[in-house]
Symmetry: C2
Subunit: 163 residues, 2 copies
């Protein structure tokens, strides 16, 4: 039972790791130049703080995921892992939310603020960012499931002693 | 010990409730009109999806906080409360991150995307939004502390039975 649980959680961690890698690769490689009114402008992730935050968040989460898989074979530190899983879930949720908010402006614009959509000019950039956002969203969902599983085990009715 | 813990967590919950109420009030009441090139434009929270998401997130978190304080007196449902605290923490983090990302563009603009800052035209709107963001950030921090406290209790060394 404990072994099948470990296989299950480590499979989820590997999926989360894959998702973070895909998010980083597609975000970092997304740049495209376009000409508007004879001016060339280049769209790239590093021009937008929220996209940089996403890359940093995914990198930290990916790095932690590798460490957590290695630690899980030791069987120690499981309490620490529950806490760090929580921190990672919050970090992933925060970074994907900020990135989606900015991407939504890039896609739809905000006429009230006078911000025009840019996806018409740089469609390939937007496609890459969309894939990165989907992968980042998947990573956040997988970590939420992992955390709920950990909490479920920790909170299972065997441990009813807490008032 | 259990009683002092309950007083401590309920104090944190009351603080979180106050923070969510402040965030909602300042965000909802923030609107300002400005004239730019003989055109009048009105800045209000409902023009920005991320700000609407913040208000909805804070409202759900505030409502849940009231329910969780009432339930805490029953002493039942503590397992459910740990799970719901986690969901609330993630919701608050997500909504504040999206709102901060958009507010940063409102404050600084993004020259690469051609999005101009708007805080010069509507400073009062920006001040109100800033207060709402600080309050929303405080609510997210308080809920993170609450969740860490719950996890600390649940994971305390008395319950070492899990491998």
């Amino acid at each position: 039972m404990a072994k099948s649980k470990k296989i299950f959680t480590n499979t989820l961690r590997l999926l989360a790791l894959a998702a973070t890698v895909v998010a980083i690769v597609f975000m970092v490689t997304s740049h495209e130049s376009a000409q508007v009114l004879n001016l060339t402008f280049t769209a790239k992730y590093s021009n937008t703080p929220a996209f940089k935050y996403l890359v940093i968040g995914e990198a930290i989460a990916g790095g932690y995921t590798v460490i957590s898989i290695l630690l899980s074979f030791k069987g120690l530190f499981w309490r620490l892992i529950v806490i760090l899983d929580m921190v990672t879930t919050v970090l992933l949720t925060s970074s994907i939310s900020a990135a989606v908010a900015i991407a939504q402006v890039g896609k739809k614009g905000n006429t009230h603020a006078g911000w025009l959509p840019i996806c018409g000019q740089v469609p390939d950039f937007c496609d890459n960012v969309t894939i990165a956002l989907i992968a980042g969203f998947a990573a956040a969902i997988i970590y939420s499931v992992l955390l709920l599983c950990s909490l479920y085990v920790v909170l299972s009715p065997i441990f009813v002693a807490i008032p």
